[in-house]
Amino acid sequence: MPLKHLMDTFGRKDRLWLITAPLIIAVIVAIGLYVAISSYLINDATDKIRNVLLSQRGLHLYIQKIMHPTFYRARDNGKVALDFYAPEIFSSSFIVRNMHEFYNGERKKEGLPLIYYKMASHNPRNPLNQADEQETLLIKMFNEHRNIHEFKQIQTIKGQKFLFYARPFLETNTACLRCHGKREDAPAGLLALYPGEGGFNEQAGVFRAIESLRVPINNEMTAAIIATTSVSIGLLALLALFFFNTRLRDLVKAKTEDLSLEIEERKAREAELEDKNAELERFTYTVSHDLKSPLITIKGFAGSVIKDVKNGRLDRIERDLQRITEAADKMGALLNDLLELSRIGRMINRPATCAMQHLIQEAMQALEEAITSTGTEISIQPDLPEVTVDQTRMVEVLQNLLENAIKYRKESIPLKIEIGLEQTNYGPTFFVKDNGIGIEQDYLETIFGLFNKLDTRSEGTGIGLALARRIIEFHGGKIWAESQGPGQGSTMYFTLPMAATTTP
């Protein structure tokens, strides 16, 4: 899949996130990495120049501890003139400074960068060694804080990065004071060379100077930047890939879930469709059977009448013609019912909320004559909830249920019908209970079939309960019958889960 297309599968927000998140992480890591690498490289550079400084320190100490005593002995023995002084031999700072120049010369030959050396004092003998502002502060700091042995700093001079490294010079001791103490105590040769006051009047136990080295570290910094950049870019790429991958996986997962949901839904719809097809098949079968039946009656008796008339047999003609009329009426009724049944697919009215009580009363009004003439007693539970239904259709259901109860009442006792609401496995369930002839266990389901009648002689086409079931199912509910058996009365239950059944 082309990346462009792949990116299109992410939302705008996703894309922004995909780019920003790895970038932020990479920048944070880069900063950390840069700090770590540069500090490592600087430490490494520091180690190197510390070594340079320490080896110079060695030379200082050699001059102080071996050369000076040797000279003093030679002078005391009269082998050297008493007033002899030459910085080339006596001054360790002079010697080291010169030695460092040779050292730099050697470095240059090797193509190595020069290391700048300076001994700085606030009270120098040679103005070359005059401490600047920072060096003066450092001398003060090393004197005041004896636990601090070194100072390092990155300096930028004319765009060049330098590592500046400083240590206090050797602590001034009594030997030093021969030349750095009172001016009158110093050798005459020294006084002749340095007529100024610089370098005198020092005290033992203080650091009178610092030594510092300045080494260019551009290479190190460049290395740090290159290392940081390359690692960061690599990391960025990895992170971007990781985030992209994670997001992609999430997307694929979500899509897969969506798809499996869709498949499930489709399967459910297919099953529903299959059910509908089976229903349609049964419907067609029933219709063809039930419509053909009266046709056979009509044609059969018409043929019989013709024959009877021919034969002069007139006694049963009237009855036969009556059969024909009845069969035609039956056919008409069936056709009406079919039309009615086909209409249920479309609701007549929008579902509206109203009291169940009200709907029951409407159904009772429609059946008023049958109820009064049969002396039927109907009791309705007083606290029935409100329902959201197609009212006309729901009245039809109730009317059908009441009609059935009346049709299949016991002749011996007055019919009592009870309407109410109770909890069943299907939730709040309405019931219409009668004390009629009851239904055998085997027929509890059959009675809901189209044009199925238990008693062929009873009135009607047998569409009532099929119609009621369709209406209830259209509302998303369920309707079923229960009976303890013949003679035990029966109860019709129905639920209306689609309707918001609320207790008023």
């Binding site: 059969g300 085997d442 238990l454």
Partner: protein, 147 residues
């Protein structure tokens, strides 16, 4: 007709008009001595198994032919058929399915349950008469029975 034994037909038909038509035609053809009409599957089985009101086997003799509708109230025709064919004594009685249905499924199921014949009720009166007369003649006169 051929023997002295009174020939009996059991007509299982829920539609009273169809029953009347069948009875008239059967009587006119003068094939059977007796045509018993029952209205549903339950009554048909009660008659055949001599149950309830049909317990007297002299008044309600074993039929020589059963004309059976498929769509019946209470117990449907296929169930009646399978009970007849599952019974050792009854299974030899020829059962002719006489129905309005020409559905393939009904036809297949009827033979599956060992129906002896399957005919659909003709809409035309003349054909209806001829069919019933021929049926009667074939099963009661031409056809040889083992009892």
């Amino acid at each position: 007709m051929m023997t002295g034994e009174p020939l009996c037909i059991l007509l299982v038909e829920d539609n009273p008009d169809h029953a009347e038509l069948a009875m008239r035609n059967l009587e006119q053809a003068m094939i059977a001595n007796k045509v018993v009409h029952v209205e549903d599957g339950q009554q048909a089985l009660d008659y055949l198994f001599h149950r309830g009101t049909f317990s007297d086997s002299a008044t309600y003799p074993k039929p020589h032919l059963v004309l059976l509708d498929l769509r019946l109230p209470k117990i449907d025709g296929l169930e009646v058929l399978s009970q007849i064919k599952a019974d050792e004594k009854l299974k030899m009685i020829p059962v002719v399915i006489l129905t309005t249905s020409s559905a393939e499924r009904d036809l297949a199921m009827a033979y599956e349950h060992h129906a002896n014949s399957y005919v659909t009720k003709p809409v035309d009166f003349e054909s209806f008469s001829t069919l019933l007369r021929d049926l009667g003649f074939y099963w009661l006169a031409w056809n040889k029975r083992p009892w």
